[in-house]
């Protein structure tokens, strides 16, 4: 399933493609769903027990991926672009891109054309463009317009010792975790937000969460595994192969410590490896979810990923499976004891 949803290209604002695939997979396991004006997919699954007031758990994962948006077509038919979400421009030179069926490549001015003193500088947006093989502006205009969105091209590959490289692991991994969880039955009411536009500063989550009051919110995403050689350990974030990751503090969010304890408990009980991420960077959708509707107790559970926001994002299959399991067990363990939170 991960292969299926990572190979669908759905850049922020164009989530409908992957949304259709997701809906198709989960429709038999849910009570109802709706799609809002921003393209968020909101899915409801009622508790399997006939409780008067079941606990409600909101789960969140964004459907969109990073990409490039055409800003201008030059006289020669080259496409100037801007990026959606933050991208390390050093990582996109000479990569394939696609807009629907239209193939393109990210071309760059030749090194010989750059003044010698600047040749070691980081790649600049001005030096890059998308080349679709058009021979003039008029020619290109038959196929693209400013505002059209290109995604990267990257096949799903299993390699090494149980590693996976695929497009948009950030955050199809989170979607896959939710899709897998939805196939089970739980005591609590569940609402799943497959959000749009996380990559443009969590704008979808803000709209999706509006008016949906839940007792707890769980956010699923990839998290930075900056664990290559030479990185000091305090900059690593998390490590691939060491299991699911939870964050205590993200940028602007703090995980509910009782939820964290429960997670650690589940990890120990079922021998599912768990690690704490130590880089307090962006919390993704959780920032919007945690503060919406007067605030919700929350926790972020993530899969460590290397090379995020590049076409070669890598995760460990073991971490992915562990995270799926730990989330399901965690959901089963959420019971009325959890209502006794910090007052």
């Amino acid at each position: 399933m991960l292969k299926k949803i990572t190979e669908v290209k759905s850049v922020a604002t164009r989530e409908k493609f992957v949304r259709e695939v997701i809906l198709d997979e989960i429709k038999d396991y849910i009570t109802s769903y709706r799609v809002d004006a921003m393209g968020n997919l909101i899915v409801y699954k009622k508790s399997s027990l006939n409780l008067e007031e079941p606990l409600s758990v909101m789960m969140v994962a964004h459907m969109d991926e990073v990409g490039l948006v055409v800003t201008e077509i030059t006289d020669d038919g080259l496409l100037k672009f801007d990026y959606i979400s933050i991208i390390n421009l050093d990582a996109i030179v000479s990569k394939r891109v696609k807009c629907g069926d239209l193939q393109g490549v990210v071309g760059s001015v030749s090194l010989a054309g750059i003044p010698i003193a600047e040749r070691c500088n980081r790649v600049k947006l001005d030096d890059l463009f998308i080349d679709i093989g058009a021979i003039s502006k008029e020619d290109a205009e038959q196929y693209v317009m400013p505002g059209d969105v290109f995604s990267f091209v990257s096949d799903y590959v299993e390699f090494g010792d149980g590693f996976i490289k695929a497009l948009a692991l950030d955050n199809r991994v989170g979607c896959a975790i939710m899709m897998d969880a939805l196939k089970g039955d739980y005591n609590c009411d569940i609402v799943c937000l497959f959000t749009a536009q996380e990559e443009t500063a969590m704008r979808g989550a803000k709209a999706a969460a509006f008016g949906i009051k839940a007792d707890f919110a769980l956010n699923f995403d990839t998290t930075l595994a900056n664990d290559t050689t030479g990185v000091p350990s305090h900059m690593m974030g998390s490590k691939i192969g060491k299991g699911a990751e939870y964050t205590v503090k993200g940028k602007g969010t703090v995980s509910d410590l009782q939820l964290v304890d429960l997670l650690k408990n589940v990890s120990e009980q079922y021998s599912l490896p768990l690690q704490m991420g130590n880089l307090a960077f962006s919390s993704g959708d959780l920032l919007e979810i945690a503060t919406a509707n007067g605030g919700t107790r929350n926790i972020a559970i993530s899969v460590p990923a290397r090379y995020a926001h590049t076409p070669v994002c890598v995760i460990s299959n073991k971490d992915f499976c562990v995270t799926k399991e730990i989330v399901k067990m965690f959901l089963h363990r959420i019971n009325s004891d959890m209502m006794k939170g910090r007052d």
């Binding site: 030059t74 006289d75 020669d76 080259l78 979400s85 933050i86 991208i87 390390n88 050093d90 990582a91 996109i92 030179v93 000479s94 990569k95 394939r96 193939q103 393109g104 490549v105 990210v106 071309g107 760059s108 001015v109 030749s110 090194l111 010989a112 054309g113 070691c120 500088n121 980081r122 790649v123 080349d131 679709i132 093989g133 058009a134 021979i135 020619d139 091209v153 990257s154 590959v157 390699f159 090494g160 010792d161 149980g162 490289k165 930075l224 900056n226 664990d227 290559t228 050689t229 030479g230 960077f281 962006s282 290397r306 090379y307 995020a308 926001h309 590049t310 076409p311 070669v312 890598v314």
Partner: protein
């Protein structure tokens, strides 16, 4: 010949400068369909011969190179990541977030890492290859069982068709020339040629024309027609010296390392026959296989025909398919005796 299909078939084979075995096998196999004799030499050059039916025919050798830029494993670090060297003039800007194939005991997929944008922001300079690491997904012990320092690494290519008969993929700086030569060989099947025809696919052009020297030495041709790649203009205002628009046709070099009279005659004939071409004029030698072959074993008449390639030495090299056909037309023009050499 359907040039794109030929290139797509060849796209699966890699010829990394210094280890061209993978693609040499593919080429040698194809060459058997056209040549009476085919053989390799000790360096890995692939030769073919179509003897002339005429007595005392002069020897004409068509040459193009097998190799492309690549990488070499230098060391496996304590975490199983591979440190590497670049081979040939790799444009290092393409390396971060590239996919690679490591030719160890078995082929292994890998990626060259790149910092996530969230943490790359603070850097002033772009990463250098000596700081980069290949991630093949192995721990050190597993890696050491199948990979060792000195193993070659190819930059993964996927040839795609863009608009207007343009194509893009890795390795086109050598594959275009190979396609042009095979397109030519299709044209001369059953044609009575005035020359004793040799074809050589050389190794190590990206490492200083290593194969070219020995190929010329062993064959001792009278005439050499070298096929190579040349910088393609990226846009109409691209002022880079020595670069040409895609769609120029074949680029004929008028440089000190080619035959002055022969090339002049070629240009006149090309105009007569409406074969699209441009001229690369320069006072500098081109440092191509033509340069190597011109004087290594006595003096030889040389021609240098090049296919314009955009984004040279990147994995998205771009070519206009008709430029490859134009190149093969000019090879045919010379080999069929249509051009007075001296």
């Amino acid at each position: 010949m359907d040039i794109f299909s030929f290139l797509k078939e060849m796209d699966k084979y890699y010829g990394i400068t210094g280890n061209e075995k993978d693609i040499a096998g593919f080429v040698a196999d194809k060459l058997n369909n056209y040549c009476e004799e085919t053989w390799n030499d000790k360096l890995g050059n692939v030769f073919g011969r179509i003897p002339s039916k005429h007595e005392n025919a002069k020897k004409l050798m068509i040459t193009t190179h097998l190799d492309s830029i690549g990488l070499m494993v230098k060391n496996i670090d304590e975490n199983g990541f591979l440190q590497f060297e670049t081979l040939g003039a790799v444009d290092e800007r393409i390396l971060p977030a590239s996919e690679v194939v490591v030719f160890g005991e078995k082929k292994s997929f890998g990626v060259i890492g790149a910092k996530a944008a969230h943490i790359a922001g603070a850097d002033k300079n772009r990463p250098q290859s000596k700081e980069m690491l290949i991630d093949a997904g192995f721990k050190k012990e597993t890696a050491q069982n199948i990979i060792q320092p000195g193993d070659f690494v190819a930059l993964k290519s996927c040839l795609v068709q863009l608009l207007n008969n343009h194509i893009s993929g890795g390795g086109l700086c050598s594959h275009s020339g190979i396609a042009a030569v095979f397109d030519f060989l299709e044209k001369v099947m059953d044609v009575d040629l005035p020359y004793d025809l040799f074809v050589v696919f050389t190794v190590g052009r990206e490492s200083g024309s290593v194969g070219a020297y020995s190929a010329a030495y062993s064959v001792r041709p009278d005439v050499v027609v070298a096929v190579d790649a040349i910088q393609g203009k990226i846009h109409s205002k691209d002022q880079t010296k020595g670069s040409f628009d895609l769609g120029s046709g074949c680029v004929i070099s008028r440089t000190p390392d080619v035959s002055y009279e022969g090339t002049l005659n070629l240009i006149c004939k090309a105009k007569e026959q409406n074969i699209p071409f441009e001229t690369n004029a320069s006072g500098w030698i081109t440092m191509s296989d033509a340069t190597a072959m011109q004087n290594v074993a006595g003096a030889v008449h040389t021609f240098l025909l090049s296919v314009p390639i955009r984004y040279m030495h990147q994995t998205v090299e771009m070519v206009y398919l008709d430029d490859i056909s134009a190149c093969s037309d000019l090879i045919y023009l010379i080999s069929s005796g249509g051009v007075e050499i001296a």
